[in-house]
């Protein structure tokens, strides 16, 4: 199912992902992360790209070609948190960066979160993902009230 409510800028159009976008997303993610994860993205598509009310998989197109994507979901009461929008992935083709595409994608996702009734957006990042962290910081995001803890499980 597709949503027919694309945002447009002079050069960029944001739309809901379609099944045919899967190879592009896999390739774009492989290009930016260095790992090809076709099986993972196939499952993510099934979960996020079905036109749900609170799960979103958006594609940015420039001149008719996909140049980036963002994935997010409204989740509630995990870790005691009221409903909030989570950004799980964002990627922009390296050649298309520095033109505000990331901002357009995040704004489009936040608009959907607002429409879904939430007023907080959050994400989680690797501490050394400086470029990505700088991007989210530039969008006004600050450290939130949660701290992630972990430990290795001994055999």
């Amino acid at each position: 199912m597709m949503h027919q409510n694309p945002e447009t800028t002079p050069d960029v159009r944001v739309r809901t992902a379609r099944p045919g976008d899967l190879p592009t997303v896999v390739a774009l993610d492989a290009e930016t992360s260095g790992l090809e994860k076709a099986g993972y993205w196939k499952k993510r598509f099934a979960w996020y790209a079905g036109g749900h009310r609170d799960r979103f998989f958006l594609i940015a197109e420039a001149e008719g070609a996909p140049v980036g994507f963002i994935v997010g979901e409204v989740r509630a009461w995990e870790f005691g948190s009221p409903p909030s929008g989570w950004v799980f992935a964002i990627s922009v083709k390296p050649q298309a960066r520095l033109h505000g595409l990331g901002t357009v994608l995040l704004d489009a996702l936040c608009a959907r979160f607002r429409k879904a009734g939430v007023h907080q957006v959050r994400t989680m990042l690797a501490r050394d993902a400086q470029l990505l962290m700088s991007f989210f910081r530039s969008q006004g995001m600050m450290a939130g009230p949660f701290i992630q803890l972990e430990k290795a499980l001994e055999p």
């Binding site: 501490r127 400086q130 700088s134 910081r137 530039s138 006004g140």
Partner: protein, 157 residues
């Protein structure tokens, strides 16, 4: 996190100058905005000038101008010009080699890693947005100085 006085003055000066890279400000103007010592600020501006972050313009109407890239320059870049931000503690002291010393080191490293990740992800351009937000929120006192100080306090504690 506590920053040394010179570091804080450097960040305020960079934010003030970067807000309008075409504008020249005298050291007296910057010192007046933030209520800091002119002598202290001059020393700080010399360091910033040596690394090319600010340009000193001589003569009547001279002053300082921002010459860095606000979208790339991070708080950590500026802080490192004035103080060490590596692992704290005293690795040379005997207790550092004990199990207790290692345990304390692990906790302090966790704090350092988080602080560095924060400071290295916040650019001058992002700080200027925070300053604007503080200004809109009505930071009292010297308008420029108070807003910049509150923006810095939000990220450096």
């Amino acid at each position: 996190m506590r920053l040394q006085t010179a570091t804080r003055i450097a960040i305020y000066a960079v934010l003030d100058l970067a807000a309008d890279p075409a504008r020249q400000l005298s050291s007296a103007q910057i010192a007046g905005r933030f209520g800091v010592s002119g002598n202290h600020l001059s020393k700080v501006l010399r360091v910033l000038g040596r690394v090319g972050l600010v340009e000193a313009l001589r003569g009547a109407g001279g002053g300082y101008r921002f010459r860095g890239n606000a979208k790339r320059l991070t708080l950590l870049d500026v802080i490192r010009l004035f103080e060490d931000v590596g692992p704290g503690g005293e690795p040379g002291e005997p207790a550092a080699a004990t199990a207790e010393g290692h345990a304390v080191r692990r906790v302090l490293d966790e704090i350092d890693d988080t602080a560095q990740a924060t400071l290295s992800s916040i650019t001058v351009a992002t700080m200027l947005k925070l300053v604007e937000a503080e200004r809109r929120a009505g930071a009292p006192g010297r308008p420029a100085g108070r807003a910049a100080a509150r923006a810095l306090a939000r990220v450096a504690g």
